[in-house]
């Protein structure tokens, strides 16, 4: 049981919910950029939330299944098809032996997630299957997927019985497509040096659009803003940073740290994108514009709890549906 990469994408990697416990050694967390989307894809096929999936960027890989399998796609919509037939996002699909999954054009978002029922047969590295490209470790040989790679699946189950005909089958359950209502407004919590921005800079931070530049990858997004100014203060000594931390660079521009961020940094921490909005952030690409607005910790936590509740409901619903089909 496996799937094979028959054409490589630009940056497709195995990711789960990240590697924690080793930040103190400088080992960056990695993990899916859009963890919410990965968890939705996992729920649709009955996987545990933290099962590893494939994170795809556009142009994405062409993937061949060597046996029938249960799969789901979530996150960015890259117009997926199987054997040329368009297939829906956010739904559980049974694919047949020798079916080829490919992606035609990016319609929405920046990162798609492929989950396969049972997950991939891969070894953990330091408790996670996420690919750490810097350390060349974790995931599939610590690197992006290439043509000819064969990923073995954990599941020994033959899903052929779900395929009476030869064609693929879209199962009758779906996750609501929250990507249809993607907001470009991102909530942030003030960072430790927020108060050092001049009044004018604060005003601009909260009321002007920020463009994602071409320098946007899994490590971070550089924003193409007019320089923001700070009241002079003492230089900051390095300390821990996090995904979603918005730093002010010496040239007055902003960088938002993403999944492959360094564990520590010494630039002023202006703000932090709330965890519930990391998913929106992860689906932005070069040329997109965002607005930031301040929120408070209680709101941030409640939004995250609601997101979690939605995931739990989806997991329960999908588990029940899957049981119906044995």
């Amino acid at each position: 049981m496996s799937l094979r990469i028959i054409k490589a994408g630009i940056l497709d990697t195995i990711q789960d919910l990240g590697r924690y416990g080793f930040l103190a050694g400088g080992i960056n967390p990695s993990g899916a950029m859009d963890r919410y989307a990965l968890q939705i894809a996992n729920a649709l096929v009955g996987n545990a939330a933290g099962e590893a999936g494939i994170e795809l960027h556009f142009p994405a890989a062409v993937i061949l299944f060597t046996e029938p399998a249960l799969i789901a796609l979530s996150g960015a919509d890259f117009s997926p098809s199987i054997n040329g037939e368009p297939v829906p996002m956010q739904q559980c699909i049974v694919v047949n032996k020798n079916d080829a999954l490919q992606f035609h054009r990016p319609r929405k978002g920046a990162r798609a997630y492929l989950a396969v029922a049972g997950g991939f047969l891969l070894e953990d590295w330091l408790g996670s299957r996420s690919t750490n490209l810097k350390a060349v470790a974790g995931g599939y040989h610590g690197r992006r997927l290439q043509k000819g790679d064969e990923l073995l699946l954990n599941s020994k189950k033959d899903y052929g019985y779900l395929l009476p005909g030869k064609k693929i089958r879209v199962m009758p359950w779906a996750a609501d497509n929250k990507y249809e209502e993607l907001s470009s407004e991102i909530a942030v919590l003030p960072g430790h040096e927020w108060g050092r921005l001049t009044a004018e800079a604060k005003e601009r931070f909260l009321h002007s659009p920020f463009l994602i530049t071409k320098l946007a990858d899994r490590m971070g997004y550089r924003l193409g803003n007019e320089p923001l100014t700070m009241v002079p203060g003492e230089e900051i000594i390095s300390s821990a940073v996090s995904m979603g931390t918005i730093q002010l660079l010496p040239d007055g521009k902003l960088i938002v740290l993403m999944a492959d961020h360094q564990t520590t940094g010494g630039y002023p921490r202006l703000a932090h994108v709330i965890t519930a909005h990391h998913s929106i952030l992860a689906q932005l690409k070069s040329g997109d514009a965002v607005y930031f607005r301040l929120t408070d910790t209680l709101t941030a936590e409640e939004l995250l709890a609601r997101q979690q509740q939605h995931l739990r409901q989806l997991q329960h619903a999908c588990t029940l549906k899957l049981q119906q089909y044995g």
Binding site: G21, N28, L189, S239, A240, T263, I274, A300, L304
Partner: protein
């Protein structure tokens, strides 16, 4: 949250971490406190604590807000809960401030062919390369923190006579490079853009993904360098 006469300040790092900051400076006494407190959090973890990241003068604790929210009264935030737990722990004496760090000796080949800024730095400082090597290998450095790259250790303090502010622009730096930036010295475990002045190269694998503990050194350790020649370097 900057309270009365406490020697530290607490601030949120987003909605999943809290930083305890003892004063934004490179100071051995402060860093001892940071390391001791990190150990204390690990030994007496509060429910929902994920991990601790010590830095020069701060300690950041990462936690799972969703897990914590299941166990606290509604209306209270996980951040408030973690702040209370941190304050309670910080109110106790730091679990014996004796150093637990290991002592590690690391070979360095100080050869211009491996160290683009070695001769330049000696000239700038008006000393010989031999003197520079002695000044770099004499101190027992403290590992203040890890960061930047997997296995990268920030060590200090570099002798005043060979300090040099970092380069204005990062340059490609090869794996094993031993560099100086201000009062700090460090070794690049990977090839990377870097702004530190490279004066040597170490054959030691600071990071090895196949080891159970992939990083060779950690914050609080003591490191001393010793010079090896090109032959020893090649056969290490």
């Amino acid at each position: 949250m900057n309270g009365g006469n406490r020697p530290y300040e607490l601030f949120a790092l987003g909605d999943t971490a809290l930083t305890i900051d003892w004063g934004n400076r490179m100071d051995e006494q402060i860093n001892r406190e940071v390391i001791a407190r990190a150990a204390q959090f690990r030994q007496q973890p509060f429910p929902g604590l994920l991990e601790t990241v010590p830095a020069y003068s701060s300690l950041t604790v990462f936690f799972d807000p969703l897990f914590i929210r299941q166990h606290i009264s509604p209306g209270k935030t996980a951040m408030e809960y973690v702040t209370e737990r941190a304050e309670a722990l910080l109110g106790l004496p730091a679990a014996a401030q004796q150093e637990t760090g290991r002592r590690v000796r690391i070979p360095v080949c100080y050869d211009p062919s491996l160290a683009p800024e070695l001769e330049w730095l000696a000239r700038e400082k008006e000393i010989s390369v031999e003197e520079l090597i002695i000044l770099h290998t004499t101190p027992v450095y403290r590992v203040y923190m890890m960061g930047f790259l997997p296995g990268f250790a920030y060590m200090g303090e570099v002798d005043e006579r060979i300090r040099m502010p970092r380069k204005p622009q990062p340059q490609p730096t090869r794996a094993g490079s031993v560099g100086i930036a201000g009062r700090q010295t460090g070794i690049y475990p990977f090839a990377s853009p870097g702004g530190w002045h490279v004066i040597g190269n170490s054959p030691v694998q600071l990071f090895n993904k196949s080891r159970e503990e992939p990083t060779l050194i950690s914050a609080g350790d003591r490191v001393q360098f010793y010079a090896i020649d090109k032959y020893e370097f090649a056969h290490y």
